[in-house]
């Protein structure tokens, strides 16, 4: 009888001790925010284009953490979907065409500067403050910072913003992958 009592007492004491430790840890090591959101956010391309229908990459990351689909990011394309699927342990899905198609080449916005009337509408539209200028002064895009989200194109009243592909120069060029030919496909040569 007493051995049962001892066992119960012992287990109860242990439960109390561990409960106290866990309770302390929960307060002491409390993590602010949701860490998975940051991990998801890091995988998104940060174009802040809003094509996913959320106002930026962070809100979309939050939505994904809350169960939203992972295939709504056209700038990230297939590689982002695969990375997200890896992270979240879900099956990768094809890109949702409703939100746009993956662009083949990276683009940047370019203002035709002699046509700019200085209305500042594009400046307000730019999600990452990559357009310089002031009212009634010519505006210009900081090409190195531009993510190519094209949110500035639509608000321009004089239609002087073009999306141009980033030019390949000797500095950023790199070798192509060799043609994947093997001896049995000789007729291809």
């Amino acid at each position: 009888m007493s051995s049962i009592l001892i066992a119960i007492l012992l287990l109860a004491t242990l439960a109390l001790i561990f409960g106290a430790i866990l309770g302390f840890a929960a307060v002491r090591f409390k993590v602010e925010g949701n860490p998975i959101v940051d991990q998801i956010d890091n995988l998104l391309p940060q174009t802040q284009c809003g094509q996913c229908s959320y106002p930026g990459c962070k809100p979309y990351a939050e939505a994904i953490a809350g169960g939203e689909k992972i295939n709504k990011c056209p700038p990230g394309g297939e590689s982002t979907i695969i990375a997200l699927a890896d992270l979240l342990g879900v099956e990768p899905e094809p890109l949702d065409a409703e939100h746009g198609a993956e662009s083949a080449v990276p683009m940047v916005a370019l203002i035709r500067e002699d046509e700019c009337i200085g209305c500042t509408k594009c400046i307000q539209a730019c999600p990452i403050d990559a357009i310089m200028g002031a009212a009634k002064q010519m505006h210009t895009v900081i090409a190195d910072e531009c993510t190519g989200c094209d949110l500035c194109v639509e608000p321009c009243p004089v239609d002087c913003i073009d999306m141009v592909p980033i030019e390949t120069t000797v500095q950023n060029w790199h070798w192509d992958k060799p043609d994947n030919l093997i001896a049995t496909s000789k007729e291809a040569h």
Partner: protein, 671 residues
Amino acid sequence: MQPITLHSFDGGIHPQENKHQSTQRAIVALPLPAQLIVPVGQHIGAPADVIVSIGDTVLKGQDIAHPKGFVSAAIHAPTSGKVVAIEQRELPHSSGLEGTCVIIDSDGQDQWLEEIANGSQGINDYLDADNDVLIKRIRDCGITGMGGAGFPTSVKMAVKGKQIDTLVINAAECEPYITSDDMLMRERALEAIRGIQILMKLTAADNCLIGIEDNKPEAIKAMEDALHKVHGEHHITVVTIPTKYPSGGEKQLIKILTGKEVPSGGIPASIGIVCQNIGTCEAIYRAIAEGKPLISRITTITGDSVEQPQNVEVLIGTPVKHLLEFAGFKQEKSLFQKLLGTESKPRIIMGGPMMGFTLSNDELPILKSSNCVLAPSQKELPANDIASECIRCGLCTEACPADLLPQQLYWFSKAGELDKAEQHNIADCIECGACSYVCPSQIPLVQYYRHTKGSIKTERAAQDKSNRSKVRFEARQDRLDREAAEKEAKRQARAAAAEKAQAAKKAAAAKAAEEAAKNGDSPATEASAKPEPVDLEKLQKQLSAAQAGLKKSMDKVAEIKAGEAEAAESEKLEVFEKAVATRRDKVKLLAQQVAEAKKAMPPVKKEVSREDIEKKLRAQQDRIEKSQQRLQLAQEQGLDTLPALQKGLDKQMQKLKELEADLAQFDKAGV
């Protein structure tokens, strides 16, 4: 001096050397070409800024482009003549891309700039001169590494705060066919040694090791003889190393001479070593002692399809064609190859057979880093066969001088697994081509690695950019929040102030009423009887919204009646009809209110002046004029922006009309 213990690196290959063909004749100066094509981006780093313009006359050695930024190099006119063009031309680069080139028509005089010709630019007591002065001169003279990569020398020499104990001079010249360093050492050993002395002074190195492969006995002898002529203690040693490709790789040569390994991802300076090519040393001597900028170099022209393989002193910017003609190029002997989309052409390689690249045409110029032009025959360099599958023989692993696993890297590159390739240290690949050389399946391994390295670089740049965008986005979001909060705070402050004023007013009114009551006057209800000022604008807005809603509902009803709507909606006909009725009532009510408010309001005085409207009108007219011009231009050139421009113009016209109407109304009201 104690004897140097030689070490060795793993791997390496022994390809046919083929060096004797081009070492039979002394170096000759190439006759002046009629036109020189001088690219301003010949080095690693930012292309230089052109400072001459078309039509300018330039003298030999005059600077025509200034370095832009720290990692950059100056460019000089290789001969005297006239600048006839500054344009984008194809560069001798594996990409075949274009870059800015200064085109100079030679005047045949080859006249030096006055201050270089009279020698006043030279620093005679260079071993006592200030280091900063010497480094500035090296930078001004546009000296870049002449071994292949073309890294600006002044940048390499400006490693401050790093203790350098050994200066390694790369004279191994391990790649087959190339003999330009060999011939340079045979004929200009003393100049090279003097250049090395300058480098030792700049780096404050304790000793200097010149690594020369044992297949160049004449060069070794010439260098040793030159060393004997140097007075005083010099701590320079010529070291003969066994011939093995790629012992001329920077990291490999350092391993052979010192036994030290440059850490992965590091530079030699991190282990107290600086490495320079022997040709660069000679160029440094000329720059410092004679004040001559880097405008020519020794280039090997070789291969079985040239009659006279040899080394020539060639001006930077000389078209390869000129060089080939001089050496007696015979097209019929040459190896033909078919580039994509072009007819079959003789294959000309810039650089050696291991690391060089095929030129797309023979009009491309010689650069500061072009040590060899190779015109092989069909027999010498058989055309690349198509690759077979990898048979996992492991020969590539044995050949790799960087101790990598080429086969693994090949699989990862083929599958696009960049992160795994990175974990297997693909960044340490020196692209020497030893693996491709030994591969029995003829797999173009190096091209796979180059592609993967480039992809990793591109991906990293994209990641950097995305991190920056994130920071910028968050900063902007913070700013917007802050602005909104400030606005809200101001609004609340205003509301509080207004409330206070209202309360004070009320209190005063109450007091006045009290006093009036006390005085026995009739109760003054004037203040309370005053109707609240009606916000006309707000009412009008509400009205138009209500009208729009009504119209929508009516449309829907009509649609349902016509049987066009979907079945589910048809059932709701009643609901819609009811909505129409309520909305109609609302519109009526609002219209009445608006009418009342209008009556109650005193006629609003226009705040805008006539001048304002006229100003706007004029601006609009100007704008339209500009648009018309642009439209015309677009029409002339047949641009596809035409419809967009036309649309814009229409919009502007409409605005103009509106403004004119405004003006007319204003005048009417004024009268």
